[in-house]
Structures are given as structure tokens and as C-alpha cells.
């Protein structure tokens, strides 16, 4: 087994986990964590696949893209968390649907 495909496959699994979490988990904080997993999954695919280069150091372009992606993700996360806190202050809820709140 070649790590060049091992890590991208792990990234694929992580991305799928993120999709599932974003759609299925009810708590808004779980949705934010899922969104971060989506990002990490994509980054693993990007850098993992860049490792197929035969040169002694891997392709730097995907690494640069991932660095940009990490910073963008933290910006999105901060906004999402600010919205969640404001929403919680306004309604006392931590889910979209009050029905789900009672099941948590």
C-alpha cells in the first residue's frame, strides 16, 4: 500500500464523515465541526495526491492552496460560531428545530 493513495482515501472518508455530520447531526456546534472535517478531508486529498511527484520534495502548489484554505476555514468557523452564540442568546436554542432540542 502506497501512502500516496492511503492519505487521499482517508481524506475521502473524512469528507464523507463531514457531509454526514453536516446533514444528520442536529446540534449546531456539531455542524461546525463537520464543516471543518469537510475542509480537512479536501486538504488531505490535495496534499496526499501531490505526494505522487517523483521529485525529492512534493509539489508546492497544493500546499500553498491548503495554507490558504486553512485560513479561510478559520474565518468561516469564527463567523459560524458568532452566529450560533447570537442565536442561542436570542432563542435559547442550539439546533435549527425546537423539536430536536428536546431530543438532545
Amino acid at each position: 500500500m502506497n501512502p500516496a493513495t492511503l492519505y487521499p482515501l482517508a481524506g475521502a472518508f473524512l469528507f464523507a464523515t463531514g457531509v454526514y455530520g453536516l446533514l444528520a447531526r442536529k446540534h449546531l456546534l456539531h455542524k461546525v465541526i463537520s464543516g471543518n472535517f469537510l475542509g480537512s478531508g479536501v486538504f488531505l486529498v490535495l496534499i496526499g495526491l501531490a505526494g505522487r511527484s517523483s521529485a525529492e520534495s512534493p509539489d508546492p502548489v497544493p500546499q500553498a492552496m491548503v495554507l490558504t484554505g486553512i485560513v479561510v476555514t478559520v474565518a468561516l468557523t469564527a463567523l459560524a460560531l458568532a452566529l450560533i452564540k447570537r442565536y442561542h442568546t436570542a432563542t435559547g436554542l442550539t439546533t435549527f428545530d425546537p423539536v430536536d432540542e428536546e431530543q438532545l
Binding site: N2, A16, S53, D59
Partner: protein, 230 residues
């Protein structure tokens, strides 16, 4: 009703499995070796005298991405600020006093982080490091300071705070426009001063990314119990 709920619970799993299958198939189909752009970037890096190829990509080849990314950071900070409940709270300090352990940890970690950040910018041209990583370390140190009560953001006047948040983006835009005035295209560096200019941008970018991360955290952090705040 229960059928609908069961379907609603199943749907995310089906979507996730389908996505997984699609990606795995695509990854599997790729040839085992590919160069990407690494050879072309190496050539440019050798010419410019900056050995860290990631720095070359981030600040020179794809500097425009980086410019927009600084805009993302500032935009997110503005967005978070617009969500604050009361305006004065923007400038209130985070915590009254730090827990002793956190304070001790801060005294230890922050100077260390500063040294690491300076080191990262310095070696960024040749070894791993550079503005992003140094800025991130700097930002983390700033957040630690704020958490432990050392940073008192309320001393910052409103105008000064606004300027501090915008200065990163404005400086980057200014440098970008200078290259137009100098007769090149946006973000095109003159051949003889490329390395110096990139280092200058790195230092500015480190400060601006660090400042943006700290302000992102400060503007987002909870105001804490109302009665303790004043």
C-alpha cells in the same frame, strides 16, 4: 410520520456513501506518478533566490490569492463585529483576571511564540516557515494573552482599533498598486528587488495575519456574564 423520520435519518448516510464512492473511484483511477507544477515552480524559485517554494507560490506566483485571503480575514472580522449585541462590548476586556495556571503558561509560551514567529519569518525564504505560519503562531500567542487577561483590548480607541484591523489589507493593496505605478502588472515585482520586496511583504503579512486572527477571536469571544463585565 415514523417512515418519514426514518428516511430523513437515512438520507444523509446515503449521500455520504455516494460521495465517498465517487471520490474513491476518482482517486483510484489516477496514475501513480504526476509532477503537477513542481518542476516549473522549482525553476522560478531557483531564479528568484528564494528556496522555500511554498513561499514563492504564496507571495509571488499566486500572490493575488493571498491578497484575497487577507480580505477574507478582514471580512470575517467585520462580519463578526456586526453581530455583537452591544457596541461597547467590542472594546471590553475578555476576562477580569487569569487563572494562575493559565497566567504562568502564558508567561512561558508567549515569549517562546514570539521567538518562533520571528524565526519562522526569517527562515521562511529557505526552510519551512513564512508569513502564514509565523502569523498563525503570532495570532495564537495573542489569543493566549487575551485569554489570560494580559491583553486589555479596551484601551484601544475605536478609531485606532478600526485602523488596526484594516491596515493589513490596505498595506497589501498599496504594495499591489505600487507595482502598477512602477510600470508592471498588479503584484509584479521588479527583477532586481524581488527577494527584498517579498521579505518586506512577509513581515507585513505576518503582522497582519497575526492581528487579524487575534481580532477575529477578540471580536467573537463571549462577553461573559453581564454583571461581571462592568
Amino acid at each position: 410520520m415514523s417512515d418519514r423520520r426514518r428516511l430523513a435519518a437515512l438520507l444523509p448516510a446515503i449521500v455520504a456513501a455516494a460521495v465517498l464512492a465517487v471520490i474513491v473511484r476518482a482517486v483510484w483511477s489516477l496514475p501513480p506518478e504526476a509532477e503537477g507544477l513542481s518542476v516549473a515552480v522549482s525553476r522560478v524559485a531557483a531564479e528568484s533566490g528564494i528556496d522555500n517554494k511554498i513561499t514563492v507560490v504564496l507571495l509571488d506566483l499566486r500572490g493575488y490569492d493571498t491578497l484575497l485571503e487577507v480580505a477574507v480575514l478582514m471580512l470575517a472580522t467585520v462580519a463578526v463585529l456586526s453581530l455583537r449585541e452591544d457596541r461597547d462590548a467590542l472594546y471590553r476586556r475578555i476576562s477580569e483576571r487569569a487563572a494562575p495556571v493559565l497566567a504562568a503558561l502564558t508567561r512561558l509560551l508567549v515569549p517562546l511564540a514570539l521567538v518562533v514567529a520571528v524565526h519562522l519569518v526569517w527562515v521562511g525564504a529557505v526552510r519551512p516557515g513564512g508569513a502564514f505560519q509565523a502569523g498563525a503562531v503570532l495570532g495564537a500567542a495573542g489569543i493566549l494573552l487575551a485569554l489570560s487577561g494580559y491583553a486589555r483590548p479596551q484601551w484601544v480607541g475605536r478609531g485606532a482599533m478600526r485602523s488596526a484591523l484594516a491596515v493589513g489589507l490596505l498595506t497589501f493593496l498599496g504594495i499591489a498598486m505600487l507595482s502598477i505605478v512602477a510600470g508592471g502588472e498588479l503584484l509584479e515585482y521588479p527583477e532586481q528587488s524581488r527577494k527584498t520586496l517579498i521579505l518586506v511583504i512577509e513581515v507585513l503579512l505576518t503582522l497582519s495575519i497575526g492581528a487579524s486572527l487575534v481580532s477575529l477571536f477578540l471580536s467573537s469571544a463571549s462577553e461573559g456574564p453581564k454583571e461581571a463585565g462592568r
